[in-house]
Subunit: 515 residues, 2 copies
């Protein structure tokens, strides 16, 4: 059924030349991804221990139910878990023990070394939103997303200095058959960007395709020691792991690519409506998935993910960027660090707002602070979301990216030394003098402060004369300018052809499916 070579593709005659060319593109500069300020510790030791003990209780008494994946069940049984039909129960401490082979810190590699990112430790990796069926902009309003939109967001993420990762299904290319979307999406990530990216997980064959396509650019052998991609394995909370997901998890883990295990809990629906319970349940479900990845391949790179939020339990509507969800984000950063794996927080630029307005940025900024200050290592949905993720907004994307830049600046912290305290400036001036022309100001004025990517409004009168443009209107200009400026990064032409060939072959093999 497959005409493409799936055997590991190792060094060949043109390797040296290819690599040089592949690494030559430095167009897209990213902001430093290292935090130099402490992580905020919300919970004290007794509270953390109580949550961890409760997590043990959950794993012993509720466990994880894995649907239609006897291989996963067998792995757990062989590791000492109690398997009752499709349910896996862990004696206290077992899940943590199984997670212990996971690396605390690792890299996701890029053919552009300046885009290689580190997950874990003091590093912060920001990514665009994921999974929206709709897109919107001020010109055309809200509409179903297409492959063109998808490619646009890959390009914008590539160009955004404050994003470190190309994401995955940034928006659904709804004009492509459901069973073939992953091919176009992975091809776009591989060829339109050099930032690390996510592969498909919706079925095992699609996961396989994603890995095979990455290998066309990076080679299997290289990937065995150099993860280049990531997969999001959602737990079907509460406590169910679907067989398609677990099969995809096993494929990525086998290939030593990064597995992020993400429970998805709305308090009151998929778990109790308390922040402590949401935190403990997320940890329990996440540990079950991470344990499976480690059983498949001890030491394979994993991330403790989460997608948690609240609901208005009177109306049933989902709510985002709320203080309760933000408390959970903070607690999970602590719990993940204690488990010894990088943490991907659910709290990105989340909002239930329908347009890129004040509420959108209030919700989003609240969610980002909780995520960033508490020391999450990876933030999904850090740019673009509206309507709780139903829509990727071009304007919101730019506004979020701007805010990400400001937060990254904050992470670089406050340097206290002779140069920053600048006694000379005070000796140069008298009380009441201004400091605009001191040697210190002249030395630093150009770089002292973060500069927003949004055009300055000017004073009220100027702004009014210019038609009172809202932030969204200014962002509209920025996204178009960026797309105009985009230049595709270098890629070895034969590898790019291999990717294109893979996509067209695969598409030709199978009839379209639209559901």
């Amino acid at each position: 059924m497959n005409t493409l070579n799936r055997t590991p593709r190792t060094a060949h005659s043109s390797r040296g030349r290819r690599r040089t060319k592949r690494f030559s593109s430095e167009q897209a500069i990213t902001t430093i991804q290292c935090r130099r300020i402490p992580a905020y510790e919300l919970l004290d030791e007794p509270a953390l221990c109580e949550i961890e003990n409760h997590t043990d209780w959950l794993l012993e008494n509720v466990g994880i139910t894995i649907k239609n994946d006897p291989i996963a069940l067998e792995l757990f049984a062989n590791a000492g878990a109690k398997v009752q039909e499709d349910r896996v129960l862990f004696e206290p401490g077992l899940a943590k023990h199984l997670c212990a082979t996971a690396p605390k810190q690792f890299k996701l590699y890029s053919r552009n070394p300046s885009h290689t990112v580190t997950l874990g430790g003091n590093h912060v990796v920001l990514m665009p939103g994921y999974g929206s069926p709709f897109v919107s902009d001020l010109d055309r309003g809200r509409r179903y997303a297409t492959l063109e939109d998808f490619k646009n967001f890959v390009k914008l993420s590539y160009l955004a200095p404050s994003l470190h990762h190309s994401g995955g299904t940034i928006c659904e290319p709804t004009d492509v058959p459901v069973n073939k979307r992953h091919l176009d999406m992975v091809a776009a990530h591989l060829t339109l960007s050099t930032k690390p990216f996510m592969g498909s997980v919706t079925s095992a064959p699609r996961a396989r395709d994603s890995i095979d396509m990455a290998a066309l650019v990076y080679d299997y052998q290289y990937m065995q020691t150099h993860p280049v991609m990531q997969a999001n394995i959602n737990i079907n909370s509460p406590f169910i792991l679907d067989g398609e997901m677990s099969a995809s998890l096993r494929l990525y883990a086998e290939a030593n690519q990064c597995v992020c295990v993400s429970p998805a809990i709305f308090g009151g629906a998929m778990g109790p409506t308390s922040t402590a319970a949401m935190s403990a349940q997320t940890l329990a479900e996440g540990m079950a998935g991470i344990a499976l990845a480690q059983l498949v391949r001890p030491g394979c790179p994993v991330v403790l993910g989460s997608f948690h939020s609240t609901m208005n339990l009177r109306s049933g509507s989902l709510t985002f960027g709320t203080p309760e969800a933000n408390l959970v984000s903070m607690a999970l950063s602590q719990l993940g660090r204690r488990l010894g794996v990088p943490v991907r927080s659910g709290g990105g630029q989340l909002t239930s707002a329908n347009s890129p307005d004040g509420q959108a940025m209030m919700d989003s900024t609240n969610a980002m602070w909780a995520t960033i200050i508490s020391g999450s290592h990876q933030v999904w949905h850090a740019a673009g979301w509206l309507e709780g993720g139903l829509t990727m907004s071009y304007e919101k994307f730019i506004m979020d990216v701007d805010n990400c830049g400001a937060l990254l600046r904050m992470l670089s912290g406050m340097t206290v030394d002779e140069e920053t305290l600048s006694k000379e400036s005070y000796l140069e001036t008298r009380p009441g003098d201004n400091f605009l022309s001191t040697a210190h100001t002249l030395r630093h004025f150009a770089t002292a402060n973060y500069e927003s990517i949004l055009p300055d409004t000017g004073p009220f009168e100027t702004w009014k004369d210019n038609g009172s443009p809202s932030t969204a209107h200014r962002a509209n200009t920025v996204y178009k300018t960026l797309l105009d400026q985009y230049v595709q990064p270098d890629i070895d032409s034969s590898r790019a052809e291999d990717v294109a060939h893979f996509v067209s072959e695969r598409k030709a093999e199978t009839p379209d499916a639209w559901y």
Copy 2:
């Protein structure tokens, strides 16, 4: 010149009855003002010590220049400071020693005991914006503020559950002569609200009037042991204290009313353009003012204030809510705690945006997080500001108040115990079940989550059918509803008459001045 009785007004025959009546109003409920989560510590011990040492150097080598206030200079000279003409220099450690009599924590009292607030410790006091010459709303646009606007914001602040303090010059009542505004403003705070408030500082006589008016409601003798009001003493940074300000400071301190000393530094203009220098200079200038208050009356209540932000040093425009300013807010919270006084942070809902849009809430939320997470005790400008404080927006006020409520909810933290972890819920359900009708959810659904005061938008389609209202449009409805619902709090009628009489007498005494 003054026909009103200025001698202390102590208990009189109707005192008991009056007090009962004054305390009967419980209309406006405030959200708990106590933080149950740790304060974020940005800087480590060596960095904090280096800033404190530099502060000593600044006070020794630059000192504070006090214009036209020989009494203040004499107080400092008698306390061992070196006074050179109008400049006061402190040997290392002296200013800190003089600040040591300041209380770590104290109350601002209200005739409604539920509106008495605590400054210091684990308490957080949020207040509306201060000083805007303009107001705006969606109906009438931006315009000069009037006394009616001022009263509206006093009412809205009184009704806002997440504001604990009535503020001061929330907006300038520009339709009242400059030399008489303070009378109307203080009268409004005293009679339209029961939340603690700020008096005038723009001249010593106006400060005196403010204190005398407060005494008409609270009595001098009561105020000697129960501060009911606060004064904002701005340092004219760098390192100048104007005589009018220092005279006002002395009056408030003598009357045992709270003095907040607020340096005002835009990095690059009033000090070097580095976050470390802004922090050290703010601390130095603040300590000089606090030392003066303690020399006037040892033990009088003081607050270390600050108003710091950044500039775009290319264009000269002031910028707000920036990461650099936010780092300074965090550092000042730490430095103030170490000095042993409550801290009022410069970072409230600050923004340079011209309308209540996405940028406005992004800037504001960033500034509020830095302020709140780092443990500031008092936040000025927590609601309403646009254009860096030039405008109080009715809609932004509501959006900010909503965000304040969410942040206060966050400060109540995460409770980890048997009830919140809820083992029963997991025993009641099976994997994959939802938790919507568990006993735990039914017990908690109504109070589990913060509820926004902004009307829900509903899903996109509903929202679109309703005319796609932005957050600002929804806030417009809320502020009008609140003003419609406002009921003036109870006040003893004879005391209210005394206040009105004081205002009319004072107004009649002096010709109008419009500058």
